[in-house]
């Protein structure tokens, strides 16, 4: 059994293994109610994962749809060597990766991250905070996503999973369908590029080895 990704379900969607197996069986038998249950259980974690990876909510509903279509289509091939939530997380990562690649080819008309849109969407408003603190937080987030945008898609995903989601190399390797050694190499260069971009001063790197787009 592959390692269970730690924060895949954000707590509230966790399911007992027996119940999960039953749900998968019912889904494979094409029970509409089971499909509904799976969808209702995982829709918010899926959307949250996609949102965190991509940093904006453009076409988020389409991406959620894509994840579930792939999931329902592939349930027959799901071997059960990982938790259902982990498997769904893996689909999320792949869908997000595809999205990042597409976006790199076709840059969006507006900014990279629409983090400012929190100001106009009541659903995104959480507890009001100090205006200056809120502005500062948004600027920091925008800076982080802008730095992530400079990375190659594979490096970006690996860095995101490690630094933001807090996953270890083995878990990341499963999610990106790679091996831990490759992930470690990718992560090394991703971190170097990311923090150099964040610091905003390329001259700070004392001994930069040649770049790699692994």
């Amino acid at each position: 059994m592959l390692p269970r990704v730690k924060r895949e379900t954000d707590g509230y969607a966790a399911l007992e293994p027996a119940l999960e197996a039953d749900l998968i069986t019912r889904c494979r038998n094409r029970e509409r109610a089971a499909h509904d249950e799976l969808y209702h259980r995982f829709r918010r974690p899926v959307a949250a994962n996609l949102y965190r990876v991509l940093g904006d909510r453009t076409d988020l509903d389409d991406l959620v749809q894509e994840v579930f279509v792939i999931a329902f289509r592939g349930l027959d091939r799901f071997r059960g060597d990982a938790r259902l939530s982990t498997w769904l997380y893996r689909i999320c990562v792949n869908v997000a990766l595809g999205r990042i690649r597409t976006r790199k080819r076709k840059p969006p008309a507006i900014g990279v991250a629409d983090l400012d849109s929190t100001a106009i969407d009541p659903s995104m408003i959480e507890r009001p905070e100090q205006p200056d603190r809120s502005l500062e937080r948004q600027q920091d987030q925008r800076r982080v996503y802008a730095a992530l945008e400079t990375l190659a898609p594979k490096k970006r995903i690996v860095l995101y999973l490690h630094e933001i989601e807090g996953l270890d190399l083995k878990e990341i390797a499963y999610l990106v369908d790679s091996n831990p050694v490759t992930v470690r190499t990718r992560l090394f260069y991703a971190r170097r590029e990311f923090y150099r971009a964040i610091s905003g001063d390329a001259a700070l790197d004392p001994a930069a080895p040649p770049g790699d787009d692994a």
Partner: protein, 517 residues
């Protein structure tokens, strides 16, 4: 440390992956190097940002719409796969060999074939009008319609077609008034419609699906007879209003709608036939239909209509002039009348077994739009066929916004959900609710900051009187400070704080409120 510190080193240091000695050297270098100090701060802030991003939740999404799209996509793909592989219609080899090795079966087939030949001849003698419709090729269609089509030769079917099954998928209005074969059925949704069925709607509209992408809807005060209903020939005789949408069909299947003296041959996909005292009207939304009688034929293309009065025929040179374009409003009405179809059709038997009726009952006479699983399905009262499972039922309120009525679990039997009676708007209750939301939503920390300077100067017991309008969505229409004893800058700050209060959906309200600070 003479060299600059690599930026990722600061991240390592924050994560505790750097020894204390090295950390001390890095800090010492940063104390002398502005660039490294700046990098240290930025990396530190990025690390803090990671922590906030980790807890970031996605904004609300149109969950029901997404689910509907997912279901549709998955089911469609499954059906297409089954159709391609033939898994549904595959006939075991043993059954074929057994049939053809039986002498008695061969004799029976011969007798049946003879009978079919006789029946087929009788049918065409009885049903076919003088000018039969030829199979329209692409070249036969025209924008305005054509009045001189080729002579028609019906494609004979050598063997009887497989009987089709019509499944009732929706009944809107007073479903008790619907009669099938002259009787009012107790369980309308258990009725299976086939050749010979006669449907009469009085105060209801009935939607019937008979294929993947094929359905018809019989309007109120209408009668429909299914004279033939098999895979080779569909022939419907209508008196009243009939909306038809036809999916892709087998090339040898004919589809006719007979309205009085006029015959509508389906060549396209969606159209409406109205037969009444004023004559026959055929409107085509998309695709192409051919309307004929004993005197001639016209083709009605997409977004066009032909009207034939009771004493008129389609003969003569000016027959094509009867075909007129539809207005945008008429097209929209035609689109609204599209028959309901379930996206999970394989065959009638499967649909009967895998679905159940859901009745949405309305307590008052006022018609309310209903949405099930995010799809608008008409006005209550209505009954629809749904798949087993949990379904979300919503009804439109007075302002036309859909509100959740509740979830309903549908198993294999009929299910029912009653709409709650719509409450008359209560202005005082609405104002009280909005005032409570206002008071609860004020950010007191920000408010204290606004009044901090005047509090320092000893000014207390101040107030602001505001007037505020909130609509049903929770949006603030206006917010005015009517009276206050605060300085203008402080008053503006307080107003900003109040403008930051978020209201949920609810009754609209406009009120004045005094806020003591």
């Amino acid at each position: 440390m003479s060299k600059h510190v690599a930026p990722e080193k600061w991240a390592d240091a924050l994560a505790g992956r750097v020894s204390l000695d090295e950390r001390a050297q890095m800090n010492a270098h940063a104390a002398e190097c502005d660039a490294c100090k700046r990098a240290q701060i930025r990396v530190s802030r990025a690390s803090d940002t990671f922590a906030t991003l980790r807890e970031r939740q996605a904004p609300e999404q149109p969950w029901d719409a997404i689910r509907t799209r997912v279901t549709w996509a998955v089911e469609k793909e499954r059906r297409d796969t089954e159709r391609t592989t033939g898994s549904v219609t595959k006939i075991p080899a043993w059954s074929i060999s057994r049939v053809f090795t039986s002498r008695w079966t061969i004799a029976s087939l011969a007798i049946a074939a003879a009978g079919v030949g006789i029946a087929f001849g009788v049918h065409h003698f009885r049903a076919a009008p003088q000018a039969w419709v030829a199979t329209g090729g692409p070249g036969s269609s025209s924008e305005q319609g054509s009045a001189a089509p080729a002579k028609i030769v019906a494609t004979p079917a050598n063997v009887p077609g497989a009987p089709l099954g019509g499944v009732i998928v929706r009944a809107t209005g007073n479903a008790d008034t619907i009669a099938i074969d002259g009787a009012h059925p107790q369980d309308l949704f258990a009725q299976r419609l086939g050749t010979g069925s006669v449907i009469a709607t009085a105060e209801a509209r009935l939607d019937v699906q008979f294929g993947d992408g094929s359905a018809f809807a019989l309007g109120p005060s209408s009668t429909l007879e299914l004279r033939h209903f098999d895979s080779h020939l569909i022939e419907l005789r209508v008196d009243g209003t009939l909306d038809v949408e036809v999916g892709p069909r087998a090339s040898d299947q004919r589809f006719l709608v007979i309205a009085g003296e006029h015959t509508v041959e389906v060549r396209g996909t969606q159209f409406q036939v109205r037969r009444g005292a004023a004559g026959t009207t055929v409107e085509c939304r998309h695709g192409l239909v051919a309307v004929s009688d004993k005197a001639g034929l016209v083709e009605v293309a997409a977004a066009r209509r032909v009207t034939i009065a009771p004493d008129e025929t389609l003969g003569g040179e000016h027959a094509r002039d009867r075909v007129v374009p539809l207005t945008v409003d008429e097209l929209a009405q035609l689109a609204d009348a599209t028959p309901m179809r379930m996206p999970v059709w394989t065959d009638a038997d499967t649909l009967f077994a895998d679905s159940a009726p859901l009745t949405v009952a309305a307590p008052d006479a006022k018609a309310r739009d209903i949405r099930v699983d995010g799809i608008e399905l008409g006005t209550a009262p209505l009954a629809i066929r749904v798949r087993p499972g949990r379904h979300l039922v919503e009804s439109a309120d007075r302002e036309g916004r859909f509100r959740r009525v509740g979830w309903v679990d549908v198993a294999t039997g009929p299910a029912r959900i009653d709409l709650p009676a719509e409450q008359p708007p209560n202005a005082s209750a609405a104002i009280a609710a909005r005032k409570a939301q206002l008071v609860a939503g004020i950010d007191h920390a920000r408010l204290a900051q606004c009044t901090r300077s005047i509090a320092k100067s000893g000014l207390s017991d101040t107030y602001v009187q505001i007037e505020i309008a909130i609509d049903a969505n929770g949006s603030v229409g206006f917010l005015n400070v009517l009276d206050t004893d605060l300085p203008s800058a402080t008053s503006a700050c307080v107003r900003d704080v109040l403008a930051g209060v978020r209201f949920g959906t609810g009754a609209p309200a406009t009120f004045r409120e005094r806020i003591d600070l």
